[in-house]
């Protein structure tokens, strides 16, 4: 059977499963819609969190990014997993004990202030929309590449599916769909990774193959060989970086703090029954994430080795079929600058003849490893699962922020349970439409603003929650001053280097050599220091707030 038929079958089957789950798990109350009734098992919640978290970018782009960045790519691996340690130790159990529905709920109640609540609503909506536009675009691209339909039609297809289970099922529908999506995406990621590991090193476990000898008889270790290939072409050695240490430090920290502060991830820990379950589900979540995140750098190294050996200095006329196939999609471009008929792939831009899109490292893997057609279909279904699961989680955060935090808790407090549920559904539907619009007409700055999402979460939500739990003396004046300053500082730095003066976006002009990607860490530090200082010179929080802090610190009163 052809690749296209396999893709239709596998994608069709996976969509049928999602719709089936949507119908089976319709939400009947706001509690079911917001937090799946609070009765999800830690194991299922861990899986759902993993799918929620791993987006189109993790599935399609991350291995490619690492492949081209080598050691420098570690910032993503550590940043996007290390945040879970913070979530487990500093946030999840306490927020579970707090026992309401959203981040703005916590910030509004803890800081006894509507202004603080609205700041959190704004941050949650902004962060989620930033993120979701990329997911819908990802859905469209997968459709167009594997099924030969227009990106627009692909996006609309994705919208219909998400609409179905997010609007009908709310958190309940999303949770059980995400469990299914995790299974599909991890299977789709591992199958080609295992085959390519065997192909390069004879070791079926990619995490070990990564540190094994290549099986070409030379007895060289893969990474040594790759260092050699890289340097011969003028690139930095694969295992050492080119970024400044302070920048690597700050980017990693910003991604960790941002991960722990992302509303759609935090809210998942409201869905389990007990504090103990919240702790355990972070463990399951990271375990399921780690399966992909420890495989990705191995795939990156295999793919780069393969790529260089296949194309470098080889005659273009004899290039393997996959090179020609992906050339048609524009992801590989070849221009024979010196007219020798060979492909020169080197660091020097003037002499380089081959432009390779990073996404190819995962997407072309099955073809490079000469795997059967069904594996290609599987990759498409896996990439769609990754994009849709993340999109749904984000859209739910937007709809909850509007129906619960903005309407019920602020503008229209006499809203009935039924009215709130209807508002949540309408908001979810509206959010799907907006996300779809951005998917079809992507603003040019989508890639630029991803750093934004993490920077804002790191410099506002994360410090405000942690200080709310661990510093009983923290009051509304301190928290608001900290959030506003952290947000303003981070926004100003990113906007300046990304939009106002992009020519200056180089290491010579950055403060202390910190790139806009890493500035969220600076924002978080400023937030924490200022909050602390302001809170000590302004009145103590009211007694009932102090009692609430005491209450969330223990699972149950002795």
């Amino acid at each position: 059977m052809s690749i296209e038929i396999w893709t239709y079958i596998l994608v069709g089957l996976s969509f049928a499963v999602y719709i089936g789950i949507a119908i089976w798990s319709r939400a009947a109350s706001t509690k079911e819609f917001y937090v799946a009734g609070g009765g999800v098992s830690p194991f299922a919640n861990g899986m759902a969190t993993a799918a929620d978290w791993m987006s189109a970018a993790s599935f399609i782009s991350m291995a490619g990014l690492i492949s081209f960045m080598g050691y420098d790519g570690s910032v993503y691996l550590m940043g996007w997993t290390g945040g879970y340690v913070l979530l487990a130790l500093l946030l999840a159990p306490y927020l579970r004990k707090f026992g309401k529905f959203t981040i703005p709920d916590f910030i509004g109640d803890r800081y006894y202030s509507q202004a603080a609540r609205m700041l959190a609503v704004f941050a949650a909506i902004f962060i989620s929309f930033t993120y979701v536009a990329g997911q819908m675009r990802g859905v469209g691209i997968v459709f167009s590449r594997f099924l030969n339909v227009d990106i627009e039609i692909g996006v609309i297809f994705g919208m219909i599916i998400v609409f179905f289970y997010a609007v009908l099922g709310g958190m309940k529908g999303i949770t059980y769909t995400q469990v299914a999506q995790y299974v599909i995406l991890i299977f789709a990621y591992l199958v080609p990774a295992i085959f390519i590991s065997i192909m390069v090193t004879n070791n079926p476990i990619p995490q070990l193959g990564f540190g094994s000898q290549v099986n070409d008889g030379s007895g060289m270790y893969l990474l040594d060989k790759l260092d050699g290939l890289n340097t011969a072409l003028g690139f930095a050695p694969y295992t050492s970086g080119t970024k400044k240490t302070i920048d690597v430090f700050f980017i990693t920290a910003a991604l960790m703090l941002g991960t722990a502060g992302l509303p759609h991830v935090i809210v998942r820990f409201f869905t389990v029954p007990k504090v103990k379950d919240a702790r355990m589900s972070v463990f399951w979540a990271l375990l399921f994430i780690a399966i992909l995140y420890t495989t990705a750098p191995a795939v990156a190294a295999f793919a780069r080795t393969n790529l260089i050996q296949t194309v470098s200095e080889k005659p273009y006329a004899e290039a393997p079929v996959w090179v020609k196939n992906w050339e048609k999609t524009g992801l590989i471009k070849f221009e024979d600058k010196n007219k020798d008929g060979n492909m020169q792939y080197v660091k020097d831009k003037a002499a380089n003849e081959l432009t390779i899109d990073r996404d190819i490292m995962v997407l072309a893997n099955p073809e490079i490893a000469k795997l059967p057609n069904w594996v290609v279909g599987l990759i498409a279904a896996g990439a769609l699962a990754a994009a849709l699961s993340t999109a749904a989680g984000l859209l739910l955060t937007v709809s909850t922020s509007i129906s619960h935090d903005l309407l019920k808790k602020n503008l229209k407090r006499d809203l009935s349970e039924k009215g709130e549920l209807l508002a949540a559904r309408v908001a979810a539907g509206g959010a799907v439409l907006v996300a779809g619009y951005f998917g079809i007409n992507p603003p040019g700055f989508v890639a630029e603003v991803v750093a934004f999402a993490f920077g804002l979460a790191a410099s506002s939500i994360f410090p405000a929650i942690v200080m709310g739990i661990f510093d009983k003396r923290m009051n509304k004046e301190g928290a608001i001053a900290g959030m506003v300053t952290g947000l303003t500082f981070t926004t100003a730095y990113i906007v300046y280097f990304k939009f106002v003066n992009p020519d200056f976006n180089t290491v010579d002009h950055w403060w202390f050599g910190i790139s806009p990607e890493g500035i969220g860490t600076g924002g978080a530090i400023i937030n924490a220091v200022l909050s602390f200082a302001v809170s000590r010179v302004t009145p103590k929080p009211p007694a009932e707030v102090e009692a609430m802090v005491d209450d969330i610190r223990v699972p149950r009163k002795a």
Binding site: S74, L77, M78, G82, F210, Y221, M256, K274, R279, T294
Partner: protein
Amino acid sequence: MSNDKQTNLYWKKNILYLAVLLGVWFIVSYGFSIVFANSLNSVKIGGFKLGFWFAQQGSIYVYLVLIAVYVFLMNRLDKEFDVEEK
């Protein structure tokens, strides 16, 4: 002992666990994998340079172990102070 004292002690122990676990988290992420990565790279385990291995594999395994230890310690502490949810 009064309830308040008990709760205080529970919280102090919790903070102690956090300090130790986050200390390890910090040293592995920012020490082994970033600041000292170059020096650790002179040690090789199989085909991996150690600093590089920590940055792309080891740190993630350490995170998992840290969370597992935390879950174990806190469950034990909850039982000890009789504050686990029924």
